[in-house]
């Protein structure tokens, strides 16, 4: 898969847009986009450890915020750097009632603990905002300029 994300400019913060043919792909690309902002390009992260994580949300948007917030916690508090998403599954509820746990992402992430010899942080992300947040299925992706998939997401991160 080619790099399925791009960086968006925002006056005080920074944004990411990700693409994919499935919701899972968009979530994967967004996670990889975020870690690429956080680490300097010469930081090599191996896949020696695996972790399973699960988060829930009301809708695809809140699920995205929870997903990225969980990864930030893993990175900054658990010192666990992400190298890849090994597997990811998203549960979409059949009905859309106002259930905060209706949408669920369940993923196995790989990576390793932060080591000062091989890893360098470039950026501190304070949090994931709901500002200009989008997770959407494109009706006719072919008509979108530079379309790269059927799904598209956009997030602004506070830095």
């Amino acid at each position: 898969m080619s790099q399925g994300y791009e960086v968006l400019e925002h006056t005080a913060d920074i944004g990411l847009r990700a693409f994919g043919d499935t919701l899972e792909e968009v979530f994967t690309c967004m996670a990889l986009g975020m870690i690429s902002l956080i680490l300097s390009p010469d930081s090599h992260v191996s896949s020696r450890e695996k972790k399973h994580i699960k988060v829930t949300g009301y809708d695809p948007e809140s699920l995205m915020v929870e997903w990225l917030s969980e990864l930030l916690f893993q990175i900054y508090s658990e010192n666990f750097l992400l190298s890849d998403i090994q597997s990811i599954e998203i549960r979409v509820p059949e009905h859309i009632p106002a259930d905060p746990n209706g949408y669920l992402v369940s993923a196995t992430i790989s990576g390793e603990k932060f080591r000062t010899e091989t890893h360098k942080f470039d950026l501190e992300i304070k949090g994931v905002t709901y500002h200009m947040l989008k997770v959407e299925r494109l009706d006719s992706p072919e008509e979108e300029p530079n379309h790269k998939g059927k799904w598209q997401a956009q997030v602004i991160l506070d830095i």
Partner: protein, 485 residues
């Protein structure tokens, strides 16, 4: 994609622009932006005014949704936004505070002149950089236990002073005496504790800094004299916040608020303005956790100030007390506080959200240090590292018009990515060196992002505050040495 904002801005006078309540359905109060005629077009360049209008939708808003002259595009509230809500039927919103709870500034003086410091400047900047941990994910020399963190959360700066980091007088010169009432350590999650445990006494990254500055212009000699300040005197400014602990508190409660908005059926135009009634369990819990994070930030700046004093002592081979390193004041610029204000000619207790705005209380106000009762509360405004920073004082006019608030900085003009494209860290460093400013940073990328040209001119921002009367200029400080995260 153009981000230009084309909504209505009605001129009230030379410095005040109103977004009428009729602009959007659901606005409970008008918007009011402080800016002069020459610069009003700058604020139309992005969607910050829309955020001023959005904040006006929050239940219980009184007066106006305000924006200071350093307004720029943020999330939730605009940065530079101020909004007050009634306690009985109003809400509290983490989007009106931000992720970096109690990000703020403190200023301390020395009895040294530029001439005294210049020969030691390189060494001093170097040593400050070494003694005060900075950069992304920086960890302090203090590693606290969970119990100790809970004490920090409830006692704030006083915890640091008790442990020997500073003097009791420092607390008198700190907003809220460095400890916000109502803080509850048990409303802060284990995750937030975990992020905060290794970080007390660390600067962080981005726009946070330690600066050695010299006073290069006095605007009000009487007030300066009362503060013990004169031209050519060296001072030090510290800009930092509540680090990972505050970021995690905001993250946790955004989730709580997302649920509360549905539970209490609150209509808001932007999810980042998610909120809960002040008198609901969710609203009370957020307030208690936010206050706890604010206390962490005050303890953090207190510890860093102590380390800075020791560093000066090491370099000048004198005791810090003999270097006159007294704290002038410490202000919070990302916070929500319960305060009493006059609304529609009646005294009313409200929750004032200041998101990138500084409290600016007038002379005689009961919440300011007694020593300053005849001059007003010091308002500290950091600028970019190439231009200047300011010391102002609060006014009666601010109390009447802006819930006692003023600007908090220069305000960004360029995104960080755009700044990195126009310059490099090396070039910023060498240009500043040519101007006699020594800069040391944990990362070169940060230097480019924080290049002076990425910011609005702080001189203009402060001039607007002064001329509009929401705070008055006392002194301008020029940077000499800068430590960046």
């Amino acid at each position: 994609m153009s981000n230009r904002w084309e909504g209505p801005l009605d001129k009230v006078d030379r410095f005040r622009w109103r977004i009428p309540k009729t602009y959007k359905d659901g606005m409970r109060v008008p918007g009011l932006i402080y800016m002069d005629e020459e610069h009003i077009d700058i604020i139309r360049q992005d969607k910050a005014p829309e955020q001023v209008a959005n904040a006006a939708h929050l239940p219980g808003m009184v007066g106006a949704s305000l924006a200071m002259p350093d307004i720029h595009w943020g999330y939730g509230f605009a940065i530079g936004g101020v909004g007050a809500t009634r306690l009985d039927d109003g809400v509290i919103s983490p989007g009106g505070v931000g992720f970096d709870i109690n990000c703020g500034v403190r200023l301390l003086k020395t009895n040294l002149s530029e001439e005294d410091v210049r020969p030691y400047l390189d060494k001093l900047v170097d040593r400050l950089f070494r003694n005060i941990p900075s950069g992304v994910g920086s960890k302090g020399t203090l590693v606290l236990t969970k119990y100790e963190i809970s004490e920090v959360l409830e006692k704030g700066a006083a915890w640091a002073v008790e442990k020997g980091y500073g003097r009791p007088r420092d607390l008198d010169m700190t907003e809220e005496r460095g400890c916000m009432k109502g803080a509850k350590a048990n409303k802060v999650s284990d995750r937030a504790y975990k992020r905060g445990m290794p970080q007390l006494g660390t600067l962080g990254s981005g726009n946070h800094f330690l600066e050695i500055q010299v006073i290069d212009e006095l605007f009000d000699k009487d007030i300066a004299e009362k503060l013990g300040l004169s031209e050519d005197q060296v001072v030090m400014m510290i800009h930092s916040g509540s680090r990972g602990l505050g970021h995690q508190v905001c993250t946790d409660y955004l989730k709580t608020m997302e649920r509360a908005v549905r539970k209490y059926d609150i209509n808001i135009p932007d999810r980042q303005l998610a909120c809960a009634p002040l008198n609901s369990p969710e609203g009370k819990d957020y307030f208690a956790a936010m206050a706890a994070a604010a206390n962490y930030a005050w303890a953090n700046r207190q510890v860093m100030m102590h380390l800075a004093r020791q560093t000066f002592g090491e370099i000048f081979k004198r005791r810090p007390e003999d270097l006159g390193m007294d704290l002038i004041y410490d202000v919070a610029h990302n916070i929500a506080k319960i305060e009493e204000h006059v609304v529609d000619e009646k005294n009313l207790r409200v929750c004032v959200h200041r998101k990138g705005a500084t409290r600016a209380f007038p002379p005689g106000h009961p919440d300011i240090p007694e020593e300053y009762s005849d001059i007003g509360q010091p308002v500290l405004v950091p600028g970019d590292m190439g231009r200047a920073s300011y010391l102002l004082v609060g006014t009666e006019k601010a109390l009447q018009e802006t819930f006692g608030s003023s600007c908090h900085g220069a305000g960004r003009l360029m995104s960080r990515t755009a700044a990195k494209k126009t310059t490099s860290g090396m070039s910023v460093q060498s240009k500043l060196r040519d101007k006699g400013i020594i800069v040391k940073a944990a990362s070169r990328g940060v230097l480019a992002e924080e290049a002076p040209e990425a910011y609005k001119d702080v001189n203009e921002v402060v001039r607007v505050c002064h001329e509009a009367g929401i705070s008055l200029r006392v002194a301008r400080m020029r940077p000499m040495g800068v430590v960046k995260g």
